[in-house]
Every structure is written in structure tokens, then in C-alpha cells.
């Protein structure tokens, strides 16, 4: 894959993505209200908050699935208000989902291969023959996919339909599919939800490895505060769609508003 400071010309520490004053509502329901924060290249950025705080909606805005009514998003220096998911993906934003959204009828291998669709632009004509350029392309990408399979230690389930896998492994395959896109920004929506301790440790290790080895910038949502404090460089805290805190784990931990939100005080 790619070393930090790749083709986008940014070096670690530069702002990769900035969310500026974004608001999103569905009908009358406000999901996100005037939220601003940034994600710097190479960091692990956590978004935390109680249920219904607008975390997943925030990710959906970032990768173009929801269109905010107000505010701007600057990614790799280009400002936009709306973006099609396709464009977000082609510019290197990939993600996993809160409820596993794998392609259930396909094998692990095919799922991860599907993650490379954007990188495969060979002609339809050769696809018909599955020879020549088409086969060379398949093999080249299969090699990349096998790297990811090795990295995530899922060799044994390569040909298993993902619908038959246990939940923890499905989450891992989903991470693999997101990695297959060789993302610049990886969005992880509760990567450890519903896992036992051992699985959480594995997943934490993979997340750190992705960040260290490939220099991939990661934004993650997670409910396990212990994990978040250990993994992330900076944390943004949302409550009822508003940002209530932003900073390093230590700063956030001692923030009175955050303590109130999590322990609960009468408003």
C-alpha cells in the first residue's frame, strides 16, 4: 500500500478533512447542529457521544451519503457542500458500518475484491474473455487482496460465504473490504460493537497497525471509552447533535461537560 504523505501532497499533521459549521436535519428533526472539527493526516480521531448524538449521521455526511443543509466540508484542500458517495469513495474515503453491511451472498475473497472495484478499470471487452488484460488485472488485485487477508489473519475463511461467518469475523472482513480501497481516510462505525474482550483486542491491534504501517488516517466511532482513550490521538464529543468537547483523551476526560453527558446531570 502507500507510505504517509502520498499523492495528495499532504504530510502527517496537515488538516486532511475539516468539517465547518455543519447542520443536518430530517424533516423537523435535527440530527447535527452547527458542528465543526477537523481530522489531521495520520491521526486516529474518535467521535464519541451518547446514543442518538449524531455520530453515524456525521460519518454519513463525510462520505456523501447525507447532504447537510448548512455548512461546508473541506477535504484535501477542496471545499464542498454536497458530494456523491461515488466521488467520496474515488477520492479515498472508505468506511465500515455499524450493522455489518457485507455482501452476504459472496465469499470473503469476493467481498474484499469488490472493495477494489474502483481500482479496476480494465475494459469490458476483455472481461468477456477473462483472459489477457482482464486476467492480469484480476491476478494483480488478487495479490493485493491476499496481502490484506494475511494482514487480518483471515486466510482460513477466504472462500467462505460471509453470511455464514460469526459476527466478529464479519467485522474483520468488513475492515478488509474498506482497506482494499487503499483509503486516505478510513471511517469506522463502531468497529468493536458486540465483540468480546479478545476480539476487541484483535480489532484494536488491527486498527493501530493500519494506522502505523500504512499511515492511514482513521476516524472512528466507538462506545467503549477505554478503547477510545487508548487508541485515539484526539477525540470529538457530540451530544444531541452538538459538539460539546474536542481535544486529546486527557483533555476530554477531564471536561466537565463530557462528564455530565456521560454520567448524567439534570439539565
Amino acid at each position: 500500500m502507500r507510505a504517509p504523505g502520498g499523492k495528495d501532497g499532504l504530510v502527517a499533521g496537515d488538516v486532511l478533512l475539516a468539517v465547518d459549521n455543519v447542520s443536518l436535519s430530517f424533516g423537523g428533526v435535527k440530527a447535527i447542529t452547527e458542528v465543526s472539527f477537523d481530522i489531521r493526516k495520520g491521526e486516529i480521531r474518535a467521535i464519541i457521544g451518547p446514543n442518538g448524538a449524531g455520530k453515524t449521521s456525521m460519518l454519513n455526511v463525510i462520505n456523501g451519503f447525507y447532504h447537510p443543509q448548512q455548512g461546508r466540508i473541506t477535504y484535501k484542500g477542496a471545499t464542498r457542500q454536497k458530494m456523491r458517495p461515488y466521488v467520496a469513495a474515488s477520492q479515498g474515503i472508505s468506511r465500515t458500518f455499524q450493522n455489518v453491511a457485507l455482501f452476504k451472498g459472496m465469499s470473503t475473497l469476493d467481498n474484499i475484491m469488490a472493495g477494489r472495484t474502483l481500482k479496476m478499470q480494465g475494459s469490458f471487452f476483455w472481461q468477456l474473455f477473462r483472459h489477457g488484460p482482464a486476467m492480469r488485472e484480476e491476478i494483480e488485485h488478487r495479490r493485493k487482496v491476499e496481502e490484506i487477508i494475511d494482514f487480518l489473519e483471515i486466510q482460513a475463511i477466504r472462500k467462505t460465504p460471509v453470511g455464514k461467518l460469526p459476527y466478529g469475523l464479519q467485522k474483520r472482513v468488513e475492515l478488509g473490504r474498506a482497506l482494499a480501497m487503499e483509503p486516505d481516510l478510513l471511517l469506522l462505525d463502531e468497529p468493536m460493537a458486540g465483540m468480546n474482550l479478545e476480539e476487541k483486542e484483535d480489532m484494536s491491534r488491527f486498527i493501530l497497525d493500519v494506522n502505523n504501517q500504512y499511515g492511514t488516517t482513521i476516524a472512528l466511532i466507538e462506545h467503549d471509552i477505554g478503547v477510545v482513550m487508548d487508541l485515539s490521538d484526539r477525540i470529538v464529543v457530540l451530544e444531541y447533535g452538538r459538539k460539546i468537547a474536542d481535544g486529546t483523551p486527557d483533555q476530554v476526560k477531564s471536561d466537565q461537560k463530557v462528564i455530565d453527558a456521560y454520567l448524567g446531570v439534570s439539565h
Binding site: F103, G105, M113, A114, T117, L118, E138
Partner: protein
């Protein structure tokens, strides 16, 4: 015993990604092709060729077309017959304009015409999903059927209102029209079907097929991964309609010999859909099995009372046929929603580990 893959090591990704990675499967396919291309034409009688093999092959091709759309991409279509009709009428027009050009060229070209029409009717699929899309395909079915009836230009103003297939030759052998022998028609048909099946198999095992299945299984995730929904769905519509169109052209030119608009009514669409369901959604081999079962079932049913000496009127048999097909669909959906293809796979799996149960 004989179906073992032990000891067959794959030393390259290419070998692992082959469509038939197991040697026994490759031998099996070779045997099937040998039977289809040599044994059947040599030993099969005329009735068997023209009333069993030719129709089954035509329907298999149509079923592959629908399977690409419904089984692989998850878009239900009730317009199969109409797209077959587009192929048939297009082929007729093309060969009337340019009688000198080889008919095979026009059969394939008519597939492209059908693909264009299919993609046009697939356009709404971006905004509408699931059962709503059924209505879009019904619109195609009824609108195109209306065109077949109302536009006499399509049949060169024949007074019969039907396509009357002219005589065409391939390498000097008559392959269409009244003078074509069943053997000639069968061999041409088989070659086209075999080639197109190979193409379909290549497509669904590669990037294109993965994109189709991704859209089928989880369209939102697919979109967020950079798979363009509209392009992918339209491509599925186009390729599907191409196959249906070629199947329609082959049906009229190599099987029926002439065709009225009634050939392409909605019941035909249902029939192909049943073939796909019973054969197995998302399986090419299932398309053949489904086509064979659904097409041959009535033939067997018609012959059965006579063979058993039962005095059942032919009308009654026809009614029973409806009930049996309907019941069969329900039974299959309950017992094995993935159809004959899955049964076949399970059987092969059992054979691999035979005589042990696990």
C-alpha cells in the same frame, strides 16, 4: 471415490481463480460438450432435437439473461418476453434490409438492439427499487407488446402480422426457414448458446459480476465503496436484455420459423422467471436445469398418462400442469430457495467426502 480434489495443488492465482478449479469438473464439462456437440446430433432423432433440445437451449439462454438481472443484480423483471420480442423483430428487420449479411451477425446485432431498449427501461431503476421496479418492467412488457401488434412496419407489412423467417445459409448449409434440418439448427443454436454462456460465466466471475452482486446484496454499501449504482444496474439491464434478445431471435429463427406477437406475451415472461427460480437465482448452470425442467415437464406430463394407460383428457393434463408447476415453485422455495443449482452443489459436496457423511 472418483470425485476427489486431494492432491490437486494450485500454484498460481490464475489456477485458483479458474472457473472450474477441480480437474473432475473440467472433465465433466468436456464430456457434456462432447455429448451435446457430437452424440446428440448423431444419435438424437428429429423429434428429440427440434422439440426438446432446441427449445430447452433457447429458454436456457433467456433464463441466463433474466438470471443476470434478477439472480445476480437483484432486480426483478417481468419483461423478459418483451425483450425477447425486441430481439426477434430486430433480427427480422435487419435481415430483410441486408439479406446478404450472414444471419448470425444479425442475431448478435439484434441482441444489441434489445440491450439498448433494455437499458432504456432500466433507467427508472436508479430511483425506484424492489417491487416498484416490477412495474417499470411491466410497462416495458405491455408497451413493447403493443408495439409488436400495432406497428406493421416491424413485420414488413405482412398481412399475417407475423414474422415469416426467410431462408438463410451458413457455410452453404440452410439454417433458417422451412428447409433447414433440425440438426443444422440445433448445432448453430448450441454454438451460440455455448459461446454466450462462456461469456456470461466470465462476466459474473470477474469485476462486473462482483459489482452486480454487491448491488444485489447491499446497494448502499456498494455505493459507498465507489460502485456506481446507475452504471451497474444499467449494465445489468443491457447485458440481460442482450441475452434475452438473442434468445428471442434464436427462438423465432431457429425454432418457431414464424412468430406472431402472441409469442411474446407476459406468460412467457413468467415462464422464464420460473425457470430462474427453480433453477437457482444467481447460477448459470441452474438456468439450464430450470429451463430443462420447466420446459420438459409438460412434455413428460403429456406422455405420462398414455404411457401408464390412464384415460386422462389432454385438457385435464394441461390444467394439472399448471397446478404441478405452481406447487413445484412453492415446494422449491420452501425446501431449497436456491433451486436446483444448490441441490447440484450439495450433491457434489456429498460426493467429495463420500463415503463419509462429513
Amino acid at each position: 471415490m472418483f470425485y476427489r480434489e486431494a492432491g490437486q495443488y494450485k500454484t498460481s492465482y490464475a489456477a485458483d481463480m479458474a472457473i472450474f478449479p477441480i480437474r473432475q469438473d473440467r472433465i465433466g464439462i468436456a464430456v457434456i460438450l462432447l455429448i451435446a456437440f457430437v452424440i446428440i446430433p448423431v444419435f438424437g432423432n428429429q423429434f428429440f432435437l427440434s422439440s426438446v433440445m432446441i427449445p430447452t437451449l433457447v429458454f436456457s439462454l433467456a433464463a441466463i439473461g433474466l438470471n443476470i438481472l434478477t439472480g445476480y443484480t437483484g432486480l426483478i423483471s417481468l419483461g423478459t418476453a418483451a425483450f425477447m420480442g425486441v430481439g426477434a423483430y430486430a433480427c427480422y428487420k435487419l435481415t430483410s434490409w441486408f439479406p446478404g449479411v450472414n444471419i448470425l451477425v444479425w442475431i448478435i446485432a439484434s441482441g444489441f438492439v434489445s440491450a439498448g431498449v433494455g437499458a432504456l427501461f432500466g433507467l427508472p431503476s436508479l430511483r425506484i427499487k424492489g417491487f416498484y421496479l416490477v412495474v417499470a418492467t411491466l410497462a416495458a412488457q405491455f408497451f413493447l407488446q403493443w408495439c409488436f401488434v400495432r406497428i406493421p412496419w416491424l413485420v414488413n407489412y405482412n398481412t399475417s402480422g407475423a414474422i415469416e423467417v426467410p431462408e438463410r445459409t451458413l457455410f452453404g448449409v440452410v439454417i433458417t426457414g422451412a428447409n433447414a434440418t433440425p440438426t443444422a439448427r440445433y448445432l448453430v443454436l448450441l454454438s451460440v448458446v455455448a459461446a454466450l454462456t462462456w461469456f456470461a460465466s466470465n462476466l459474473v466471475h470477474g469485476r462486473v459480476g462482483r459489482a452486480w452482486m454487491a448491488v444485489r446484496d447491499m446497494d448502499i454499501a456498494a455505493e459507498l465503496m465507489g460502485i456506481r449504482l446507475l452504471t451497474t444496474k444499467l449494465l445489468a439491464f443491457a447485458v440481460s436484455s442482450f441475452y434475452c434478445g438473442v434468445a428471442g431471435a434464436l427462438m423465432v429463427f431457429l425454432w418457431y420459423g414464424s412468430a406472431e406477437p402472441e409469442v411474446f406475451v407476459i406468460n412467457q415472461s413468467f415462464l422464464v422467471l420460473f425457470m430462474v427460480i427453480i433453477g437457482g437465482l444467481g447460477s448459470l448452470i441452474g438456468s439450464f436445469m430450470g429451463a430443462a425442467l420447466i420446459y420438459m415437464l409438460p412434455i413428460v406430463l403429456r406422455m405420462l398418462p398414455a404411457a401408464l394407460g390412464l384415460p386422462i383428457a389432454s385438457a385435464t393434463v394441461e390444467h394439472l400442469q399448471f397446478i404441478i408447476v405452481g406447487a413445484l415453485i412453492i415446494v422449491f422455495l420452501i425446501a431449497e430457495p436456491h433451486g436446483l443449482a444448490r441441490l447440484w452443489q450439495t450433491g457434489k459436496q456429498k460426493l467429495r467426502i463420500w463415503p463419509f457423511p462429513y
